[in-house]
Symmetry: C2
Subunit: 345 residues, 2 copies
């Protein structure tokens, strides 16, 4: 096929990159999903929707999980499904109150595996303090499903009236913080999937962040914006910030926490760790005056020990995301195009 053929085909059928959290996916969402379903709330494209009831504000979100393999160092599809949805609610500033669990299971799937994964769902839900309150189970015929199990979790959270987050609140001079090392989840799944052995076992960071985020908000930090860097990684989140706030972002390479083994694996396999998925990380934009207080609160939490100030919001025309390298050079960080790591979550 020529390049033109490939381009033509990608305009006619779904390709893997449509699910990768990058440019292709953004186009699918704009040209097909929002074209059909668009409304004021959905068009926001936030991690969760804010719903107003007659008496309160809610956050509502959903995620499907197709990770392969189902179990990997540091977690499994069950832990991932709970943490992914809780984190989407928490980064919207919500206090999660209930989860749903939809299962699509292949005929022939071992009940012992299902039990292990359900127990993992239960453990993560208990850890987060958020119960699974409703569910659905479908069984599909053998031979169509790959890993044998897809999960969907949706979640509902209460949104305090005092919480106001959004791209529009981000200002030049704000600090960009992250609660720990980047790339752990993506590289852990990749290493076990490909049977690659490293000297150190890579472990997924899958973790519920509602506790850590609640402590940051309770401490009175004036958080402008939060997002969890899952598919598309840190690069995807920073590209979203830059595009939506109309501001630049400067990140300092030597401040971005990355585990040595993850860095080695990423370099060996040719991945940019900034684009690799995380499942227990949050990027926060806070006023510079609140930076150290916020880091202090985060570092006291078990999921924030290696929290770091990785950069700042700047003006710029055009607004760019730039990485200041260890040697003092600058390189533009681009949103990943498509799916670098298929079925990573």
């Amino acid at each position: 096929m020529t390049v033109a053929d490939v381009t033509k085909q990608t305009e006619r059928v779904i390709v893997r990159a449509h699910g990768g959290g990058g440019e292709m996916m953004a186009r699918l969402i704009q040209d097909h999903i929002l074209a059909a379903l668009g409304n004021r709330t959905l068009n926001e494209l936030t991690d969760g929707a804010v719903l107003s009831t007659t008496t309160s504000r809610l956050v509502f979100t959903t995620d499907s999980f197709v990770v392969a393999p189902l179990e990997f160092p540091g977690g499994d599809i069950g832990r991932l499904a709970v943490c992914g949805t809780i984190n989407d609610l928490a980064v919207m500033g919500g206090r999660p109150i209930g989860l749903s669990l939809g299962m699509i299971i292949e005929e022939g799937f071992e009940l012992s595996s299902l039990d292990r994964i359900l127990n993992s769902v239960a453990d993560a839900a208990t850890e987060a303090g958020v119960p699974v309150v409703t569910g659905d189970t479908k069984v599909i015929e053998h031979g169509i499903g790959g890993t044998g199990l897809f999960l969907n979790t949706a979640g509902v959270a209460e949104l305090d009236d005092a919480v106001h987050l959004g791209f529009s609140r981000i200002q030049p001079g704000d600090a960009v913080l992250v609660n720990g090392t980047l790339g752990d989840h993506g590289m852990a799944v990749l290493s076990v999937r490909n049977g690659i052995e490293f000297q150190t076992i890579l472990k997924s960071d899958a973790a519920p962040l509602n506790g850590l985020i609640a402590e940051v908000l309770a401490a009175g930090v004036d958080v402008r914006f939060m997002r969890d860097p899952t598919r598309g990684g840190l690069a995807g989140v920073l590209a979203d910030i830059s595009a939506n706030a109309g501001l630049g972002v400067e990140i300092e390479e030597d401040r971005v926490p990355v585990n040595t083994a993850v860095r080695a694996a990423a370099e060996m396999l040719g991945f940019d760790v900034l684009t690799v998925a995380n499942e227990g990380k949050v990027v926060l934009v806070v006023p510079d005056k609140d930076r150290e207080r916020c880091l202090g609160v985060m570092r006291r939490h078990r999921y924030g020990r290696r929290s770091a100030n990785i950069g700042r919001i700047v003006t710029g025309d055009p607004p760019l995301v730039e990485l200041i390298t260890r040697t003092g050079g600058r390189r533009i960080v681009q949103r990943p195009y498509g799916e670098e790591l298929p079925r990573i979550c």
Copy 2:
């Protein structure tokens, strides 16, 4: 394999019947899902969970859709996904305020098909007056997914303080009502799947029932209990009522509305229409004194023209669901064991 081998296998792996809405599924839920995840709300096993926020009550529900084929007379997977979740919220007495849409799409899926289905989602959501407010898209590799598309919808509804529904409110003498003909959805999907041609085209009844149900509640009918007879059909709902209320149910065969073509198809193919899935039907239990008023309200609605009083709640030891046949005989209606019609929704 001997019968013992089959039994042993069904205790070790997932079989199709685990997803059929019958006894096997009830066992999977009890022994595996509730064993791991059980809590007071989930244990209720209602169509949706009632969540209390600090200021109000919500209903929250989820459903995955794996129907094959994706498009069938009277609807498609998109309409099904919207109606299924809206109906689960509505039968709990909730006023739906928002839906989520999770898509798992196979690589190579035609964008034109996706657009058709997304437009169908949009049409059903508009008809119901409930927007899709949040979503998620995953792409999986080619060759694992059968139809190429699985959907999940979750939904949130507000629950009026005045609404109190539950098995415990059902009393002997209550009337059992249904809003129209039974078996349309299941037989429509089956006929197109198997390329069976009947003289009349069978059409799915997929429809959002939140409007009809809101009118019944607004009319002041003291509804005791509602449920939508999807997988497992009317037989499944009546078995649930009998088991949970500890009361018998008597249904009169000649009062149960069934389209002639559906009856013919079901008889020809050996299906009991009482166990076949519906996607636009609700079973209501109301005090006998409210029966005619309720039927009047229902019949004025486009989705209730053929509403009927099909039977009554009775005492009984043991409590049974009985069908009074046209010839005046009685037969016990049993909950279907497993999956009569795989991938029907």
